[in-house]
Symmetry: C2
Subunit: 294 residues, 2 copies
């Protein structure tokens, strides 16, 4: 048994791992392909393990160390059916724990404390920990959910630009810019919309924030709608004594000024990122094992 802990963030676009000593000093990092356990368990397992092995290599540790460490893997879907047990069974670690992506995000942002986190990137999802109990909402994807996601901001911009093109609703510098990008041809906008994945819609999100900051009325309307959706979701999770709200993800900072005052006063900087949450949890398991062994 070694005194090492590995945290793994098994994400839908890549797996990231870090190995730390018992004091939490990160010794090495690794990265591998995505983990989407519900759609592709076998490759997800390969990528989870591969990221861990790379972190050990990066730390200059021998390959066989992998069987001696405590590890925590955070991955979406870990709470579905028997996936947790199946993954834990396949892991090569001395002590491997599989938890939800929500738990490592909460742990990273809030440490042991209670609170609410909202993550805003291509998608949007919210999680709360109250008296140690977790509750998650949102994250249903941009077709019928993720109202404050980058993908929805982009889709809204396209929709409002077509309404402006048709002179059904007002245009603005932002809708003019969007239509100009497509040669002022609505058919090309529609073609993009029907061929694109959420990530491609989301590339318009920073543009919408930029124009909103410059006073563009359409951009402001899009952001206000999204911010209202954030407010509704936070209200659904908050309780009177909730000590903290952390916003995570690429759009977190951009949304802050648009939040309601009652939420702004609760905003706290996240302590660490999602991977840090996995490392911290793995360190806890390591300490438990050491106590158990002592």
């Amino acid at each position: 048994m070694t005194e090492l802990a590995i945290g793994i963030d098994g994400g839908g676009s890549s797996c990231r791992a870090a190995v730390a000593d018992s004091k939490g000093n990160v010794l090495g990092r690794g990265k591998a392909g995505p983990a989407n356990i519900l759609s592709d368990l076998d490759n997800s397992l390969l990528n989870i393990i591969s990221s861990a092995r790379e972190a050990l290599r990066d730390a200059g540790l021998p390959a066989e160390t992998v069987s001696k460490v405590s590890a925590v893997v955070g991955v979406a879907g870990a709470n579905v059916g028997d996936y947790r047990a199946r993954i834990e069974h396949a892991l090569p670690f001395a002590d491997g724990h599989v938890v939800t992506d929500a738990l490592i995000a909460l742990e990273g942002a809030l440490g042991d404390s209670d609170g609410v986190i909202g993550a805003f990137g291509t998608g949007s999802v919210y999680n709360a920990r109250r008296d140690g109990k977790l509750r998650g909402i949102g994250g249903w994807g941009f077709v019928v959910g993720d109202q404050a996601s980058g993908a929805r901001l982009g889709r809204d911009l396209l929709e409002k630009s077509l309404l402006a093109y048709d002179k059904v609703r007002p245009s603005s510098p932002l809708t003019v810019k969007l239509m100009t990008e497509y040669g002022d041809d609505p058919e090309r906008v529609v073609e993009f919309a029907h061929a694109s994945k959420p990530k491609e819609f989301a590339r318009y999100a920073p543009l919408v924030f930029d124009y909103a900051a410059q006073g563009d009325e359409i951009a402001i309307g899009i952001i206000k709608d999204a911010a209202a959706a954030i407010g509704d979701n936070l209200d659904a999770l908050l309780w009177p004594e909730c000590p903290a709200i952390c916003l995570l993800g690429g759009l977190a900072k951009a949304y802050e000024p648009w939040l309601a005052e009652r939420h702004k006063v609760l905003l706290r900087e996240p302590k660490g990122d999602v991977l840090q949450g996995a490392i911290d949890l793995a360190l806890k398991f390591l300490q438990e094992r050491q106590k158990g062994a002592a």
Copy 2:
């Protein structure tokens, strides 16, 4: 040369044709596969011609009659690039005219008169004829448009049902019914949403209207949003002396009570359907030919 006219509605799900004598009496009808000229010109042409041949056969007329008739084909995309010329070149009729689907819809609903039409089925689209000049808006598909389409009503219902499931927004008998259909499992709702085409979303539209009529608050909210979108689109096309608005398509009647008073007073029953519009136009061309020959 015969004194026959053929009208063809070249639609995205099927081609329908009817042959009429010079007085407009329909002698036979035919049907064939879809016409989507921009994505599959060759098969569209085959289906257009096949529907016409079937109408002649149905009328008990010899096959060679096809080369002696006046015909009008209404088809989406007829105004794009050189498609009109390419189709007219390939048609076997003595006198074949290709026009937009919007024109035969206007002609069918309004005859020669000016006015505005809105069509509400799986999609939604609006067309106006003012002083003989056409203008069309909407019809961009449900991902970034078609705000009053059946597909959008269905998508809205799914989105609001997930928000109710998460307790972010209120639930209603309709959202409870929807979630029950999916075993109260949001993952299954999302799975349906990501796998479904507009037509499958649109199958929820009658349910939303039913529940709205019974006072369901969520259903009423969804329909009011869609009706407001119809109002915005009509206002974008209307002019002070506009004599008539016709609503077409499967959801037309259901929307009527939800329209603004200023639009309700202009509502008129459509004179005929889209195919009738194609027949009427073909009869006009027949009369012109006869005048030219006289």
